[in-house]
């Protein structure tokens, strides 16, 4: 499980762990039923406080992404796609907000931005077909 902690922005570390695990699960890089590293092991790997990892795991559990089985560890839950539509929207909305804020500063109106996104989108698809 590869997670990267960034301290450049103010996102709390436990939230970074939560959202990256969610992404790993939704992209299939973490399989249903797969075991997550023990709290202590992940803490040592990422060099973060074990309580931070424990908190991230608790959040992931209450979000239904993982289940913890007493004594044996934490596993990716097999309750289908763990990322709800709302969650997916939230991830993209964060990026869109950042894009919009920058567009305003660079004096692009919304139509310009949408046109640019479309252009990039068609290039992106062509690139993938290669």
């Amino acid at each position: 499980m590869q997670i990267r902690i960034s301290q450049d922005d103010g996102t709390p570390i436990y939230q970074q762990v939560v959202s990256q695990v969610k992404l790993l699960v939704s992209s299939g890089r973490l399989d249903q039923g797969e075991q997550l590293p023990a709290v202590r092991k992940l803490a040592e790997q990422l060099l973060i406080n074990p309580n931070t990892v424990a908190r991230a795991y608790r959040e992931l559990e209450s979000a239904g992404v993982v289940v913890s089985r007493r004594g044996s560890g934490v596993f990716v839950s097999d309750a289908g796609s763990p990322l709800s539509r709302r969650e997916k929207n939230r991830i993209l909305n964060d990026r869109i907000d950042a894009l919009l804020a920058e567009s305003v500063q660079l004096d692009f109106d919304l139509e310009n931005v949408v046109t640019l996104v479309r252009q990039r989108g068609s290039r992106f698809r062509k690139g993938e077909k290669k």
């Binding site: 902690i5 301290q7 922005d9 103010g10 996102t11 709390p12 570390i13 709290v39 202590r40 803490a43 040592e44 060099l47 973060i48 406080n49 074990p50 309580n51 804020a101 500063q105």
Partner: protein, 293 residues
């Protein structure tokens, strides 16, 4: 209720006329990683020496495991692992001799764990302390501090002047210590990104006084950083109510607030300023804002 490993109450210390610590009060709960930050000469080392019982309080009190470290040095020190800032180790000894010597002081010395650490840190135990590099010296100091699996680990500037590989070893040792049920770490550091990574709690010392002390999360969430644009250019930083620092030039300023953003925002609208960006500052930025003045 959480049990405290260290209780410091109104601690004061003078060296001659110099007030090194003044009215310092805080507690270190059991099982926490507690980061102590402050500029050089802020009193961090002096404070740690009081915890060790190496210095006697001029006023106020300090208790460690419920005991006075000056009155009960043997019981208190037996439960503490300490890495000093200057790593004052006997230069003429070999690593194995030093380990043997130190183990005699600690009934709980874990020889197996010590040997594991030797292998992990890639040390040659036949080497003399004087011939060690800075990084190896830090590793030996760390080994000596944790091989008796202390209930309280005190580290004074453990990472300063070390390369990233050795710094990782030190952080991993902090994490391993606290992951072992109930153990506590108190460390001082200038590397605030490291403090932000591993601590649950932080205390900031400034000129011998405690500037803030809280859960790390609370410290981070109470402070906010605003990039603002003012209609008129200014030469010197405007004095904005509710802010703890304001830096920049001309029209654009970066303001750090502690809690009181309403006051700040009121001022901003009165002066027709606009907010360009609002963000959560890092511990490093908070430190510079609070201490750099």
């Amino acid at each position: 209720m959480t049990e405290n490993v260290i209780d410091i109450h109104s601690l004061g210390r003078t060296f001659g006329k110099k007030q090194a610590l003044q009215d310092v009060t805080f507690s270190v709960p059991k099982g926490s990683v507690f980061g102590l930050v402050g500029e050089n000469g802020a009193g961090k080392t002096t404070l740690l020496k009081h915890v060790l019982g190496l210095l006697k309080a001029s006023s106020g009190s300090i208790s460690v495991f419920g005991q006075d470290p000056v009155q009960e040095p043997a019981t208190v020190l037996g439960k503490i692992g300490y890495l000093s800032e200057d790593r004052d180790l006997p230069t003429w000894m070999r690593i194995d001799q030093l380990m043997h010597y130190r183990s005699a002081f600690y009934p709980n010395w874990d020889h197996e764990y010590a040997n594991e650490l030797v292998a992990m840190f890639d040390l040659d135990v036949k080497q003399r302390i004087r011939s060690l590099s800075r990084g190896q010296l830090a590793r030996v100091g760390l080994l000596l501090a944790i091989a008796h699996r202390p209930e309280l680990l005190l580290l004074d500037e453990p990472s300063s002047g070390l390369d990233p590989v050795v710094r990782r070893d030190i952080l991993a040792a902090i994490i391993r210590t606290v992951a072992d049920e109930g153990r506590t770490v108190l460390f001082s550091s200038h590397l605030l990104d490291e403090v932000q990574r591993v601590s649950d709690r932080v205390a900031m010392l400034h000129g011998g006084r405690l500037l803030l002390c809280d859960r790390l999360e609370a410290v981070l969430s109470q402070h906010s950083r605003w990039t603002i644009r003012l209609p008129e250019k200014a030469q010197t930083a405007p004095d904005i109510p509710g802010s703890v620092s304001c830096r920049g030039e001309g029209n654009e300023w970066s303001v750090v607030c502690n809690g009181q953003h309403e006051q700040f925002q009121r001022w901003l609208s009165e002066h027709n300023g606009e907010v360009i960006e609002q963000a959560t500052p890092s511990l490093d930025e908070i430190f510079v804002a609070r201490v750099g003045g």
